[in-house]
Amino acid sequence: MYGYVIRRLLLAIPVLIGVSILVFSIVRFIPGDPARAIAGVHASPRYVEQVRREMLLDEGLHVQYFVYMTNLVQGDMGRSALTRRPVTVELMERFPNTLMLTAAAMAIAIAFGMSAGIVSATRRYSLFDNFSMLAALIGVAAPVFWLGIMFQLLFSVNLGWLPSGGIGTWRHLVLPALTLGLATTALIARITRSSMLDVLGQDYITTARSKGLVERIVIYKHALKNALIPVVTVMGLQFGTLLGGAVLTETVFSWPGIGRLMVDSILNRDYPVVQGAVLLLAVFFVLINLVVDVIYAYLDPRITYGSKEVD
């Protein structure tokens, strides 16, 4: 197992190099002169030249990439072209906020989504099942932006229970986490339900039942663990999506996260920050995928990552 993890981590290096090349070229294919965008409408030609020099835009692409990579392996992502602050500092200020928001949203999604899914599966076609699956459908379909503003109006303006935005106490976290987590909750509920139904129809469940096991043990010990594999896959993918996709929630709730930083940087053509942020998210995505694969092995002993796999 450890060997597998180390091998996967080593394999991540070429993936990340690939990502760095990809991001590096994509931002440079966006039309528009970044020096001009950074300098602003009113800036003088001399200043635009100055920004162009700072961003090495006069150099060839290979030179730019070489400088970028040389600095990167030394842990230096350069400076934001807009604020002239180190990119690593900008990212480290924001990333923990996004991570916290995403983790909270994920926690909500897992808690509510899985319980709703399990109950729905065991009481198929009951009132609860129909109701929660309808709710899930709405949850998947509701636009985050609209949902966020509705939550603000209800919980902040009308009821006055929770702050409408910003970051600080746990109370600030509730609305954005709910908003961000709702679609995932719905998704997890639906996946859990169908996966559970699938497993519940398997022979070994019938066997377990005919052995006279209590239904609770059949459900939680025999069925759930096996039903979890697709659920965990979705969770892993969703976690990555939420990390990068929190931008709308971050905007509505003025949450100082990395999504907002990234979008602002794209609009400003602030190459160094875009590159840094995408690379950071890519690293996390790779790690999450690894964690998911390791969890598979735990959930289903038939899945092993030993040397046998190579044979």
Partner: protein
């Protein structure tokens, strides 16, 4: 079956080519004597440009798209700017537009390529569509091409031979509140964009009289005389109509009614030093604004949010009041030297920076040299807005509280330019401590408030400066929160999480006006939105 089909196809194609080939050299006979024989681009005719100005209903755009916020352009610059003369607006009169087009020989209409940005100015694409619809009413077909802001400027700020558009939408904020910056850069014939330099006279407007007036106004120190010169120039420009003059942007702020004394400045600033909260013991004012300051370093500041925040902590030599007048700040008086090419400024005595360092002529020289990359800063990077002072050749310390600015040539607007919030005076001792490549993050100025903290993406907090040279503010702290979403800002002022918010979205104005404890404040902005005509069509 298939063979004869292919044969038929080939034959008909051939026939098409033959017919087309025969038709090509045959010119349509000109049967109407009024019809221009030589191909004249409609925009080369002044009457056409005026006609288009009459054809667009500016009032309707403001009412329907901006919920009444803003006003139709009545000059190329807004009323808040020194040198403004009311010469418009062009009223909405499609009949007159049709007449003028008829006179010019374009009664049958014509087609133009209209370029516009999206997401840069409020509702810019909607405005472009409205203009398109209104022009269609007088027979002018405008084909819209939309660009994202990052690529837009390099598409329209090009030399005439590279321009592919007939008209382009742009905005211009005269951030100095002096007509020079709002006219010279946009209408002087030396300001056509070139392949190397993106100057801003993208209409390729050239009028010798206007050129002379604008050039003279630049070097005339007497403000009354200057006003007269701008009046003449603006009348000529208005008549020539190199633009379709659209509207002056407005701004809408909302303030809880227990807050008094906030200044709503036309430069899209909200200023709190005279403010107090009437019924709260704790005087902690919170203002929500839409965008974060990109920097608080004079070298890197480029936006109104940066200016708004900085002005509370860092002062300029001259203060530009909301009514457009220039008031003493860190300089108490200023006057041109006899030759007119240098200005002498007397500085305020007994002022200290927040770190206890004295404010004096050396400090001013240090700051201006750093801003301009001159003197000890020669060879280093200049400020983004260094162009404001590009006429300054040398900053001379005359004595402890007198400074002399040597200009390359006479330049009357220099004092207006010095009032710009980006040219604030920072403690030289604090600037010295910056390492190479480091920028100011915690400004040390002389202002009414002292820097406390800056949480990126979230807020900047400052506290009262007890040792302020002027009236010490009643507020204990001021916090600027960065709330990008307009609807969220509205919620904050409704719940009391913010005492004031900037830029209320037009759709929310009516709702906020209905609330008892919230005042909605309408203020002009300094930006005009226009559609420039390409006067040098290729």
């Amino acid at each position: 079956m298939k063979k004869w089909l292919i044969g038929l196809l080939v034959l008909s194609l051939l026939a098409g080519f033959v017919v087309a080939g025969c038709e090509e050299p045959v010119e349509e006979p000109v049967d109407d004597p009024d019809e221009p024989v030589e191909e004249v681009h409609p925009f080369e005719d002044k009457r056409v440009r005026q006609a288009l100005n009459y054809a667009v209903d500016k009032e309707a755009i403001i009412e329907t798209i901006f919920q009444g916020v803003g006003s139709p352009s009545s000059a190329p610059i807004v009323p808040a700017i020194f040198g403004y003369t009311e010469v418009g607006p062009y009223e909405y009169n499609p009949e007159k537009a049709m007449e003028l087009l008829e006179e010019a020989g374009f009664g049958d209409g014509f087609e133009i390529e209209l370029y516009h940005p999206t997401g840069r100015y409020p509702q810019d694409d909607t405005v472009a569509e409205a203009v398109q619809a209104m022009l269609a009413e007088v027979g002018v077909t405008a084909n819209l091409t939309t660009y994202d802001w990052g690529t837009y400027l390099e598409t329209v700020l090009v030399p005439p031979e590279m321009a592919e558009h007939d008209a382009y939408m742009l905005g211009w904020g005269t951030v100095t509140l002096d007509a020079d910056y709002g006219t010279y850069a946009l209408f002087h014939s030396t300001q056509w964009p070139t392949a190397e330099v993106w100057y801003n006279n993208a209409s390729y407007y050239a009028n010798e009289e206007v050129d002379e007036l604008l050039a003279e106004a630049r070097v005339t120190p007497d403000r009354d005389v200057r006003e007269g010169l701008y009046e003449e120039a603006i009348e000529l420009i208005w008549e020539d109509a190199p633009w379709l003059f659209l509207h002056n942007e407005g701004q809408v702020n909302a303030v809880r009614s227990n807050v008094e004394g906030l200044i709503h400045h036309p430069l899209e600033n909200i200023l709190a030093w005279d403010a107090k909260i009437v019924d709260e013991d704790e005087q902690d004012l919170i203002i929500a604004i839409g965008a974060e300051a990109e920097s608080l370093d004079p070298l890197k500041m480029t936006s109104a949010p940066a200016a708004t925040v900085a002005e509370h902590m860092v002062e300029t030599l001259v203060y530009l009041a909301a009514d457009g007048s220039l008031e003493p700040a860190l300089a108490t008086s200023w006057e041109p030297d006899e030759d007119g090419a240098s200005w002498i400024l007397e500085l305020r005595e007994g002022v200290t920076f927040h770190d206890g360092e004295p404010f004096n002529a050396d400090a001013v020289k240090y700051n201006l040299d750093r801003f301009l990359a001159k003197g000890d800063f020669e060879g280093q990077d200049e400020a983004a807005y260094a162009f404001l002072l590009e006429e300054v050749q040398e900053v001379e310390v005359v004595d402890e509280y007198t400074i002399k600015l040597h200009l390359e040539r006479e330049f009357a607007p220099i004092i207006s330019h010095l009032s710009h919030s980006f040219i604030g005076m920072h403690s030289p001792a604090a600037l010295e401590e910056l390492e190479e490549d480091e920028v100011v993050e915690a400004p040390v100025g002389t202002g009414a408030f002292k820097y406390v903290s800056w949480d990126r993406g979230e807020e900047i907090v400052m506290e009262r400066n007890e040792d302020y040279w002027g009236d010490v503010t009643e507020l204990d702290t001021v916090t600027f929160k960065f709330v990008p979403e307009g609807g969220s800002r509205v919620v904050m002022v409704e719940t009391g999480e913010a005492h004031a918010i900037m830029a209320v979205p037009p759709t929310e104005i009516e709702r906020l006006e209905g609330e008892e404890d919230i005042d909605v404040v309408f203020e002009d902005s300094v930006r005009v939105i226009y559609i420039g005509f390409n006067l040098q069509p290729q």
